[in-house]
Every structure is written in structure tokens, then in C-alpha cells.
């Protein structure tokens, strides 16, 4: 039984590791900061008019 608990623990740890890998990939592929800013500015342009 404790092996089954450990198997679940290793499964849980694997999910965390996969999540970290996905986070790493997302961080490396998120849009650059300037692009984000111009997008936000474009979206809020109508507020000024």
C-alpha cells in the first residue's frame, strides 16, 4: 500500500515537473513587454476619444 502511495506521490511530482517545464516554455515565448504595452494602448485608445 505504501508503494501505491509512493507511486501516487511520484505521479504528483511528475505533474509538477511537467507544469514547471510548461511554465518555462511559456516564459520564453510570452510576447515582449513593448508589444504588450502597445496592445494595451491600442485597446484603450477609444477611452481617450
Amino acid at each position: 500500500m505504501r508503494y501505491s502511495i509512493m507511486l501516487q506521490l511520484v505521479g504528483f511530482l511528475t505533474l509538477i515537473l511537467l507544469g514547471t517545464a510548461a511554465f518555462f516554455a511559456w516564459m520564453q515565448n510570452r510576447p515582449p513587454l513593448e508589444q504588450n504595452r502597445s496592445q494595451i494602448e491600442g485597446q484603450t485608445e477609444w477611452l481617450k476619444t
Binding site: 500500500m1 505504501r2 508503494y3 509512493m6 507511486l7 506521490l9 511520484v10 511530482l13 511528475t14 509538477i16 515537473l17 514547471t20 517545464a21 510548461a22 518555462f24 516554455a25 511559456w26 516564459m27 520564453q28 515565448n29 510570452r30 515582449p32
Partner: protein, 445 residues
């Protein structure tokens, strides 16, 4: 309050798990500091992350298997070795999936598998992966491939060093993330720590062992094809151990040869001047135990193990469940308890095939005079006039002998894996708290 918390085995075990995650993930997240130009696509970066996590996981295996007492004391060596097997397999899958994603996202990169024409960084990756595949195959199918234990251990060390070393060489060779000098140094430091751990276990520890030799004092036969090997320390005080623990024995050869075998002590934990081990003749090494003469040199690495009553001083009593040679650590527990004049109640449920094959039968009988000890023999092939328990140690049998207030006892089981699973399940069904159940595997290989 803080001290009390850190004494809880569950809190300590959780801390080690968090530390394990931290050391697996941190080297990857550090690569996000001053990262290389982004925009290579999610899947390619995901594949790179898997490669780095796989490499860090592989390096951490060296710490798991280095017999670090503090880690081992939190879980027990058998659980750590199982954790090592499972997490190594996870690392293996990540290392395999890493290039597969790359080939899928950038099909041109499959040309990197053309070994003679590929750049060195790709060749290192291929060699590292082959070393890892050989590592996994020779471990999972060792018995089917008929690889003896000692050559397997040697090849296991060499292949693991190759897999990590070549993998790191590949990562540095690619240079995308390890292009910055300090990042390469950080990852190389991780590999060097892993290398140091293997040097420690293979060279430093054996050297320490040569400074504390033992001599075989006696090899005497017991019932059930078991031999008691008695060792005496030479020029030192021996070592202190807690009843139920085990040590790695090297007999008649240098400890650098890595031909050591784990056995539980069967003697009293109160006596460090004479250590006894109960060894059943079942394998190549154990069948030769009877041939070792008094005066043979021996070396010990230990003691190890958490299968001991000394961790549960507050327990009101103990239920000990043994199957065959699983009696060895339990015998040590009983002999030590008798020597300490322990007045707590002990119940021994001891399963064997026949009446004549019961190892330490007479010695256990004597212990009932010195301890509050109830012995329940369970025989699979009982004699005709047998009136005791027969068959297997199952839920019904345990229900007859364990106390109604289950949580007042601690339960120690050492038997074959099949019997251990059965007993563990039965104790769970009988509402024995899981923290009161302690198991010891006697086959770590």
C-alpha cells in the same frame, strides 16, 4: 513547538520531498535569468525544459543512492530505492521525449541522428541516451539477462556517470542556455556534486571501512537452511546499532571491490563487541556463507534502517510479524528487549513452511521466559498432531491476536513481498493506523 514539529516523521519526510522538488526545478528556473533570445516556439522550449529537468533528476539519483543517513532515516532504504527506481524512470521518459518533440517541431533536426556526420553536441546526446537506455534495460531485466549482482552494480555506476556526464556535455555544447559562463559553472557544479557522491560511496566509504575491520568468529547452522555469521571487531569498539537495523557486509575481499551484501543483525543491539547476522542460503553468495572459516576478514558499512523499536519509545507494546528469514531483524528486537528487561508486551506471529524449518525456534522459546512474549507459529505444512495456526497470515488470523485498541501497538513486519503486501492490507482493513505499521524488505537488489 518548532522542535516538536521537526520531530514528526511526516513533517521531516515532507521537507525532503520539497527539497527534492526544489533541487530538480531550481537549476532550470535559474536559466530564465538573462535568458537567450526568445520566440523559438512553445514546444521547442518545452522540449528543452524536459531535457534539463531529466538531467537534474538523473543527477539527484546520486544523492538518493549515496546512503545518506539523514535521508535514509526519514524513509528507510527500501522506500528510497523504490523512489529512486520510479523517479529514474520519469527522468528516462523525459530524456527520451526531449528529442522526440524536437524532431516533431523541427523535422530537419532528425539529421542529428546521423552519428558520423552530426556535430559533437548531438553525438554526446546520442551516447548519453544510449547509456541511459542500457542503464534502464540492465536494471529492469537484470535477472532475465542473467547479469550477476556485483557486475551489475559496477556497470550501473559507470553507466550513470556516463549518462549524466555526456548529457551535461551535450547541454554545454548546444550552448543556447548554458552559453553564459556562470550558468555552465552552476550546472557543472551539480554534476561534480553527483560525481563526488559516487566517489564517496565507492572510494571514501570503503577506505573508512578498512580502518575498522572485523573477523569472522563463528559460522553456525540454524534451522531452515539459515547460517548465523558472528563477527568480532578488531582494534576498535565495533559499532552501535538499534535492534532491527542492517549493515552491508564485505567478506574476505577488499571493500573497494563493491561486492557487499545487506543483512540484518540478529544479535542484541546492546552488544557491539559481537555482531550476529542470520543469513539464508538462497543465492550465490549466501550459499557460500557456510564455507567461511573463523578468522576470515570482514568489513561492515552501517548500521542502516528505520525498522527498529527504538524510534517508538512511547509505544505500549509491539506486534512482530515474520515470514521465514524475515525473523532476523525481529530476533534482534526480541533479544535486545530481553537484555534491556523491557516489560512491555510483545506478540510474535511467525510464519513458516514446516515445524522443523522454524529458524531460532528454541531461542524464541527461551525468550518467552524472559519477556512478556506471546508466540504464534503459523505453519503452511503442519505435522498431523499440530493444533496451532495453519495457512497464511491473513486478516482473520491477525484479528484473533492483535489487541482491540489497535493504536496502542506498533506493528513490525518482515517477510517475502507477497506476505508483506497481504499483511499490510489486512492491518489496514483492521483499522491499524498507517503510522503504526513498519515494513522491512529483505531483498533490496
Amino acid at each position: 513547538m518548532r522542535n516538536l514539529l521537526m520531530q514528526s516523521p511526516i513533517v521531516v519526510a515532507l521537507c525532503w520531498i520539497v527539497a527534492f522538488l526544489f533541487f530538480t526545478v531550481l537549476p532550470l528556473l535559474v536559466l530564465l535569468v538573462y535568458p537567450p533570445p526568445a520566440g523559438r516556439g512553445f514546444w521547442l522550449e518545452f522540449s528543452v525544459a524536459l531535457g534539463f529537468i531529466g538531467l537534474a533528476l538523473m543527477a539527484l539519483q546520486f544523492a538518493l543512492t549515496a546512503r545518506v543517513n539523514r535521508i535514509e532515516a526519514s524513509y528507510g532504504i527500501d522506500l528510497i530505492l523504490s523512489f529512486h527506481r520510479y523517479t529514474s524512470f520519469v527522468a528516462f521518459v523525459m530524456v527520451l521525449v526531449h528529442p522526440l518533440i524536437l524532431f516533431w517541431v523541427q523535422p530537419d533536426t532528425i539529421q542529428l541522428l546521423n552519428f558520423p556526420e552530426a556535430p559533437w553536441r548531438a553525438r554526446l546526446a546520442v551516447l548519453s541516451t544510449f547509456a541511459f537506455i542500457a542503464l534502464i534495460v540492465t536494471t529492469i531485466w537484470r535477472k532475465q539477462l542473467k547479469i550477476p549482482y556485483e557486475p551489475w552494480r559496477l556497470s550501473h555506476s559507470i553507466l550513470s556517470v556516463l549518462a549524466v556526464g555526456l548529457g551535461l556535455g551535450h547541454a554545454i555544447g548546444v550552448g543556447n542556455y548554458l552559453g553564459l559562463f556562470w550558468k555552465a559553472v552552476l550546472w557543472a557544479a551539480i554534476a561534480l556534486v553527483a560525481l563526488w557522491l559516487i566517489v564517496y560511496i565507492r572510494l571514501v566509504k570503503p577506505w573508512l571501512m578498512t580502518r575498522k575491520p572485523f573477523l569472522v568468529e563463528e559460522v553456525k547452522p540454524e534451522r531452515g537452511d539459515v547460517w548465523t555469521l558472528a563477527l568480532r571487531p578488531i582494534g576498535h569498539d565495533g559499532f552501535q546499532f538499534q535492534p532491527g537495523q542492517f549493515a552491508w557486509i564485505t567478506l574476505n575481499i577488499t571493500p573497494y571491490s563493491m561486492r557487499e551484501h545487506p543483512f540484518s543483525m540478529s544479535s542484541s543491539g546492546e552488544r557491539s563487541d559481537r555482531l550476529e547476522f542470520g543469513i539464508k542460503a538462497v543465492g550465490d553468495f549466501t550459499s557460500r556463507i557456510k564455507d567461511y572459516k573463523p578468522g576470515t576478514k570482514a568489513y561492515l558499512d552501517g548500521p542502516y534502517g528505520v525498522f527498529t523499536i527504538d524510534r517508538y519509545e512511547d509505544a505500549a507494546g509491539f506486534v512482530l510479524i515474520a515470514g521465514g528469514i524475515g525473523i532476523t531483524p525481529i530476533m534482534s528486537i526480541l533479544v535486545t528487549a530481553a537484555e534491556r528487561k523491557d516489560d512491555r508486551p510483545y506478540t510474535l506471529i511467525y510464519s513458516n513452511k514446516t515445524w522443523d524449518s522454524i529458524t531460532y525456534r528454541e531461542a524464541i522459546d527461551e525468550l518467552t521466559q524472559q519477556l512478556e512474549l506471546k508466540v504464534v507459529h503459523v505453519l503452511r505444512e503442519p505435522p498431523e498432531d499440530w493444533e496451532g495456526e495453519t495457512g497464511y497470515v491473513d486478516k482473520e488470523l491477525l484479528d484473533r491476536y492483535i489487541p482491540a485498541r489497535r493504536g496502542t501497538r506498533h506493528y513490525f513486519t518482515c517477510a517475502s513481498p507477497k506476505m508483506m503486501n497481504q499483511v499490510e492490507r489486512a492491518l489496514h482493513d483492521l483499522n491499524v493506523p498507517v503510522t503504526n505499521v513498519h515494513l522491512e524488505h529483505y531483498n533490496l537488489a
